[in-house]
Symmetry: C3
Subunit: 139 residues, 3 copies
């Protein structure tokens, strides 16, 4: 058994920018030499989410539209009123979706569906430099 | 420490069919001989979700009704327009809920509440054969 | 590699009471002596959720308001009709959000953002004594 952890950074544009992390995670899993286990992909912060989707412009735009309905950017948020802030919607979306996800590692590879990609959703209202931690554990 | 991984398949009916995976996962945990650790339950694909619920017809029907409101099957999805597809709602539901969940293993058993069952939600609009990967890690 | 598991209990007030678990989890991670790995935080039951948020009264109140819209406490739930129960909304919220979350352990510490705290959301309609299991795995 081993635990191999890698941290990398990605630049986002803000405003529900959605980035595909799959290639990066696949390489980290391959380089870990772990054959059987689980990989945890975690974004640092309270205004982002990690999940999977079919990473094509249609499905991504459907996700953004749904989030605009569930947690509209310009609603009246108590967080904004209290701190003179503008990203109350971003905190809400992050709490609802979660900032990390875990997937199987099988035969030395990340096990995802053909149309399933790991994405970072940047909810903050400005460009951010994000820290992503990938931890592969297994044997 | 060990990592024990088992993959099995289940047939679904499509259209937010909800299946109880708890018995299967309990057996895999017991057979792993791991006493203390975590079990990850992961469904392969981008039109399904894994979560827990009290698995009784009322709560399951409440979940299906809520998802029909959050991501209606017959809304106008950019995914459908782009690919002449019909399952844009399924991709959206999967991205919002996630395709995997992890639970404690304590004293050699899966640690869930009495009224808490692990479910697979099949969002695709047709019957599917689904691959579920259960990874038990611990000692 | 090691797996270190600790269970503790917290008293909640019910009705979407939100509690900050971060300090407790940080101490358990530090005491585990694990330097590199993942920590899983899991709540037992089907009427609670575990996630992260900026734990300040504004963001917490925004989350509660959003959940009141997504799954109102006094809607007509099939779960309530079937079991003469009152917490159908609580089961729904728990299934949508999930009862566990996992985070990186780096350099012997829980790796969270400055404004990111781990919370327990108590959805049941009465005070509860909740069991939280924290499992640290790594090396």
């Amino acid at each position: 058994m081993a635990a191999v952890q890698t941290t990398f950074h990605v630049s986002t544009k803000g405003n529900t920018d959605v980035l595909d992390l799959t290639g990066k995670v696949e390489r980290i899993v391959a380089e870990s030499r772990i054959r059987t286990g689980v990989v945890n992909v975690s974004g640092l912060g309270s205004t982002l989410a990690i999940t999977t989707i079919e990473f094509e412009p249609g499905a991504v735009s459907d996700l953004r539209r749904a989030l605009d309905e569930i947690a509209p950017a310009n609603d009246n948020y108590a967080h904004n009123a209290r701190w003179d802030d503008h990203n109350g919607y971003a905190h809400l979306r992050s709490a609802l979706m979660g900032t990390a996800a875990s997937f199987p590692v099988s035969d030395g590879s990340l096990r995802l569906g053909t149309w399933q990609q790991i994405i970072l959703c940047e909810f903050d209202d400005r460009p951010r430099e994000r820290e992503i931690t990938v931890t592969v554990m297994g044997e």
